[in-house]
């Protein structure tokens, strides 16, 4: 009775709603980048080291390329791979987690230990080594990271599904004759969805940072491609003389990470209401 009286209202705050909208806009911009950019991001279009002005909104870089165009492509090269990595991670993790939780016994034990194995090995280091061996390139990076990005999701899904399958509503569903994939998809998996979704949005920040790290180390998209981490890394030397060249991409990473985090918080409060 007391609990019912104290039931909290659950809503997204204005800031969180704005972040979710912003993330959608960012995704659209990234997808439509070729049609949006004012100039080719890899071609010289003017004098080098032009500060931001009306003709070049974000200025030009050290060889005279348009910074705005490079930033828009940079978001595309950072944001879309992050989405792919997370989507692969969530999908593989969900399959492994559900398989373990539902099968139980030896299969569960093997899958759980496999998950543990992938968690304990220093995944970033191995991914770095793998990309170094395959040669730099954004899709090599995406592949290498996707291989290591599922175990956390597998763990979350496994424990949520296991917990929920012992609850009365799942038992009632079994007694109603629901079996197999229908039981999993309609009665068990939705319980794991809020946690997975929230973890995924918060995870975006991690993926972006690791991707930027790869680019920073020269293992991401190769040289002329405008990747945000790489842009910051290569132009650090001009920080004191031409601040916009390293700072603007860094700000873009910062905005992406903060927006993704806020949107994650927003989705979490929305999920609680369901």
């Amino acid at each position: 009775m007391l609990e019912r009286a104290a039931k909290a209202r659950t809503q997204m705050s204005g800031l969180e709603a704005a972040a979710v909208c912003m993330l959608l806009v960012i995704t659209l911009v990234a997808a439509a980048a070729p049609y949006l950019v004012p100039a080719d991001p890899v071609l010289k279009i003017g004098e080098p080291y032009q500060p931001p002005s009306l003709s070049y909104l974000f200025g030009t870089d050290e060889i005279g390329r348009d910074m705005l165009a490079r930033m828009i492509y940079g978001v595309r090269l950072t944001w879309l791979p992050s989405l792919v990595i997370i989507a692969v991670g969530v999908s593989v993790g969900t399959v492994v987690g559900v398989a373990g939780a539902v099968a139980g016994g030896v299969i569960d034990l093997l899958l759980a230990r496999l998950t543990d194995l992938f968690i304990v090995i220093p995944s970033t280091m191995i991914a770095l080594a793998a990309v170094a061996a395959l040669g730099p390139g954004i899709w090599h990076t995406v592949t290498a990271m996707s291989v290591f990005w599922w175990p956390w999701y597998a763990r979350i899904v496994r424990s949520e599904v296991k917990a929920v399958s012992g609850r009365p509503h799942a038992e009632a569903a079994r007694l109603s004759g629901v079996r197999g994939p229908r039981l999993v998809i309609r009665y068990l998996l939705p319980a794991a969805l809020p946690t997975v979704l929230v973890t995924a949005t918060l995870d975006v920040a991690n993926v972006i940072l690791v991707l930027s790290l790869f680019s920073f180390l020269g293992l991401g998209a190769p040289a002329p491609a405008p990747e945000l981490g790489a842009m910051t890394a290569r132009s650090l030397a001009s920080l004191t003389t031409h601040w916009w060249i390293p700072i603007l991409p860094a700000v873009a990473i910062f905005v992406l990470v903060v927006t993704a985090n806020l949107a994650g918080d927003g989705l979490r409060s929305l999920m609680k209401a369901v």
């Binding site: 209202r9 509503h169 038992e171 569903a173 109603s176």
Partner: protein
Amino acid sequence: MSPNGAPSPVLNVTDLSVTLHRDGRAHAILDRISLTVRRGEIVAMLGESGSGKSTLGLAVMGLLPADAEPEVSGSVAIDGIELVGGDSLRWRTVRRERLGTVFQDPIGSLNPSLRIGAQLSEAIVDGTPPAGWLERVGIPDPESRLQSYPHQLSGGQCQRVMIAMAIAKRPGLIIADEPTTALDVVVQAQILDLLRRLAREDGIAMLFVTHDLAVASALADRIVVMHAGRLVEDGPVDRLAKQPAHPYTVALLGARFGLTADRGRQLPTLATARETADVAAVGCAFAARCPLAIEPCRTTRPPVMPAIHGGSVSCFRSLDVGPDLWAGASSPWPESVQAKSGLLVEMAMVEKMFNSPRRLLAGPARSVHALNKINLRIYRGESVAIVGSSGSGKSTLLRVAAGLLAPDDGDVVYAPGEPPQVIFQDARGSLTPWLSIGEQIGERLRPLRLAKADRDTRVAAALRQVGLDPKIAGARARDLSGGQCQRAALARAIVVPPSLLLCDEAISAMDMTLAAAMLNLIGTLCRSLGMALLFVTHDLAAARFVADRIVVMADGEIVEMGEAEKIVTAPVHPATMALLQAMPDRLARAVA
């Protein structure tokens, strides 16, 4: 209470109104409540779910949920200190120094990461040793218990610790909100006895919130009855129980099923239970449910007037209220469509062990016999109750019978037919939160491969059978009240009638009026659909009312089995006697 002259009031509530907001709408929860609790007096506040009794408790403690934007008017004074309009510091000071609280969920109310001793020491004001307080509340080996964490104690022991913390403050007033509802009957009896004894010894006043009239009369000096946010009756416990002056109180008394309720008919119940706590703007809030209602009842709020039992009542017709007021509200059972013959389920030598978790360095894992060589037969159309205190293995037996749990040894053999269905204690939890009620009921119709329209018709029919509006098919569990959830679960169970319906403490969490209505419904459906019933409960009165046969369990074994009436009138096994002894109406008699 001192014999000459009334002692001074500890709690003085005058014209208290509380409005809470939910989803942007204002709900008037309490409407001009006036109530006095004097030093050393135990007052039980009685009412159905949604009557506002918990809100009154919260309002007195200053713990109304802030996100409901409470609007409070009137006055709450503790020891003469006015609290309404006071700042949070004044509330905190009063809560710390003058107010003890005991809640419904004892395990949840203790901090799981602190030892009992540390938590108790915080409450002690006079430097007395904490072990002494544990001893007073009847916890054995208090010195070593101080080192325990809450999870190492049983629910009953946790509640004793909460009580120790409440009295160690040496408060003037204890507010207890349903403190025994979550406990089994035997433990409930001990806790009630403890509360009464301590309040008497220390002269503490107590406001005891409950929906259980038997509990109220076992404990209190005075009963106040709440209905729809108003106090409708207030009187001394024994005289009020004999001569209730408000028709609602008579209804509460009637809905209470003791060991002598007439099994041949349904329990008398109120026509419609209120689902919301909104109070009627004008007139008497009970008028819509009252058989005595006259014109002024609908237009004028009845004033507080003296009642025949020496207390007060708010009713224009109180002089016409008699004990047989609701006699017409009890209907006969429908004809049973299934003859009580033919073996349905046979459990033979069923065993189930549970391993208690192995602790590091604590020796080998221990196994507990949850079920020990159980032999039980259930016949078609028959109704069997399984009774026992918590830990007796009765729920495990039900889960094995339902096929939710595989026995370690022995056989469970079913006659062919629709497999059994279960009604769980946690009705809301037994409904999937993200699916609509209709989808979940329809799930059982899937094997029939009906067209969608036919399926919807069957779902609507099932909902109507359990007394719900078919529109509920589109709702989710969170939109329903607890009673509606239990009915929806019942609709799912009977949309294709099973040969056996299993109920696991299905009414334990309900208040008396809801429980009576539920028992009537289960009894009616079993008879009209020809289902056998296995009813697991700790309440012998409910068992006797609903069942033909009662099976008593203790420590994983069946210790007594027989005709229902015989088990309650002439018990043989000590476990049965202990259950009978713990029934609150027995306690009431012992006090009187």
